[in-house]
Amino acid sequence: MKVVVCVKQTPSTTAVFSVENGSVNWEDPGGKPNVLNPWDEYAVEEAILLQEEHGGDAIALTMGPEESQEALKTCLAMGCTEAVLVGGGDFQGSDTLGTARVLAAAIRKLGDVKIAVFGKQAIDGDTGQTPVQTAVKLGWTPLTFVSAITEVDEDAGTITVERLLPGGKETVTTKLPVVISVVKEINEPRYPSFMGIRKANRATIPTWESGDLELEGAAGVEASKVDWSNVYELPPRDSEVELIEADTPEEAARILADRLFEEKVI
């Protein structure tokens, strides 16, 4: 069975951001400014588990700049069997819909994919919209917030999953192929093995550009129907902390309760 996992390289979770003339820059105090999107680690793990159980391929796919190779190498080191980078200037600045068009075209080109696994959201744009939009562009069923894959029946062409929703857990069955986006409960991502890292470092990752894909509709900044350019830093929180000075915990509790009633938050 052919499984694709769509991943994104994002700023690290500790990155510190600044905005200058509308362009966003970041640095990381730990010196590793970009990482595999943390939510995608769960997607990668699930794709590898599917590959281990059903055979076939677990192919990591990203759309992004040349540097996103690093994220793909992490996927290979974890155990993905192949990786593809979709890149080139035509795609720069795509929003989720543009990204969905490109990912859908790449998945079609890979051919005979049964399951495309996505992370819940990417921690840069934080939209969580790409999986559903890619599914619509492929004409496949999207299953979001998946916390367990309970059964994949390749012969019957069906899949059963559990979805974690606010009020509880929903079990659904649908036809393959599907797009699924996974939540953290689904698994415990493995660490790359030493062998895996060596293999990943030697791998040459193919790059596909717009000429290699049969795109339906455009991608890139121009194709976006949303102007996302007005990004700015948060206004600082206006309050300095008021430390409650008291001789006993009871007194501290009393003063704090007074303040919270005054603030009308209780």
Binding site: W26, T96, D126, G167, V226, I244, L256, L260, E263, I266
Partner: protein, 324 residues
């Protein structure tokens, strides 16, 4: 092109909190644009939901009431909404940023190749266009996004907007046929296992969270007690979730839940940047920590430097006394 639409999410015949907030926000946008507010109601046996939508200020209700819409399935609801939008050409379509609202707006935008902005926390109107403020980069930056062309599709974060108020309004809903026949919907909902009636973190007005400072699973007892005294939900840092002291569904932060309560009490939490990402938009933050240098105090409105095992029980006692 005219009209401000709100997709109404509902449960047991009642409109969900996020949708009441969306109706409240949409009312303001409709007034600024000088356009009508239409509620879109989809489901099965939903006439009471339509009535409620009128009562909460909708000028019109359009919807579809059919067994095939009883479960929320994207392949049924997506094409229905997208078809209605295409046919009737509203200016703005708004949903709550709940999992369903999120998925539905993503679907409509993809099917119609339309512009969409998720997770709005503030809305305005400039030059006849809706300006949506949303957090990006884990809430470390903000973005004012505008859909430049065509229908403007938006979903709104829970607890960011004041809910619509009852108006006593009433009217006749217009019902249309579903867009997709049951036999053409590949997905079947086999079962739903309800999680019980815990206060959900994202909807909670007050959250009491514990961090590594609680010392172990039993350390969450005083946290739960305070939460109970306040009618609050219980949150947690990742350190405690990773340690197995409390289930993941309680985790607040960049890889947990993003919350925005009126009051967030952080006990024994250092305030790592990833934790902040999930709670920094809380209205009032209280930090209880033995270390006066803990980063959480930089974010907090009020702080108590002290042992949570002394301070938290004292607070529970104090609130129990005052709240009866």
């Amino acid at each position: 092109m005219s009209g401000v639409w709100v997709w109404i999410e509902h449960q047991d015949g009642k409109i969900a909190g996020v949708s009441l907030e969306a109706l409240g926000a949409a009312r303001g946008i409709a007034a600024s644009l000088g356009e009508d507010l239409t509620a879109v109601v989809t489901g099965h046996d939903v006439s009471s939901v339509a009535d409620a939508a009128f009562n909460y200020g909708a000028d019109a209700v359009v919807g579809s009431d059919d067994p095939s819409l009883a479960d929320f399935r994207l392949e049924a609801h997506g094409p229905l909404l997208a078809g209605l939008v295409e046919e009737r050409d509203p200016t703005v379509v708004i949903a709550g940023a709940s999992p369903r609202g999120h998925d539905l707006t993503a679907w409509i935008a993809a099917q119609l190749d339309a512009g969409q902005v998720p997770d709005g926390i503030d809305l305005g109107v400039e030059d006849g266009k809706v300006v949506v403020t949303r957090p990006v980069y884990a809430g470390k930056l903000l973005c004012d996004a505008v859909v430049s062309d065509g229908v403007q599709i938006v979903n709104l974060r829970s607890r960011a907007f004041a809910p619509a108020e009852e108006t006593g309004g009433s009217g006749e809903a217009e019902w249309v046929e579903p867009a997709v026949a049951e036999e053409d919907i590949p997905t079947e909902v086999v079962s739903f296992e309800s999680a019980g009636s815990q206060v959900s973190l994202t909807d909670a007005r007050i959250i009491v969270s514990g961090g590594r400072g609680v010392g172990g699973p039993e350390g969450f007892e005083p946290i739960r007690e305070l939460a109970q005294a306040l009618g609050a939900a219980v949150g947690a840092s990742r350190a405690t979730v990773d340690a197995g002291w409390i289930p993941y569904e309680h985790q607040v932060g960049q890889t947990g839940k993003t919350v925005s309560p009126d009051l967030y009490i952080a006990a024994g939490i250092s305030g790592a940047i990833q934790h902040q990402a999930g709670m920094r938009t809380s209205k009032i933050i209280v930090a209880i920590n033995t270390d006066p240098e803990a980063p959480i105090f930089k974010l907090a409105s009020y702080g108590v430097v002290g042992d949570l095992f002394d301070v938290v029980p004292a607070l529970s006692e104090e609130f129990r006394r005052r709240l009866g």
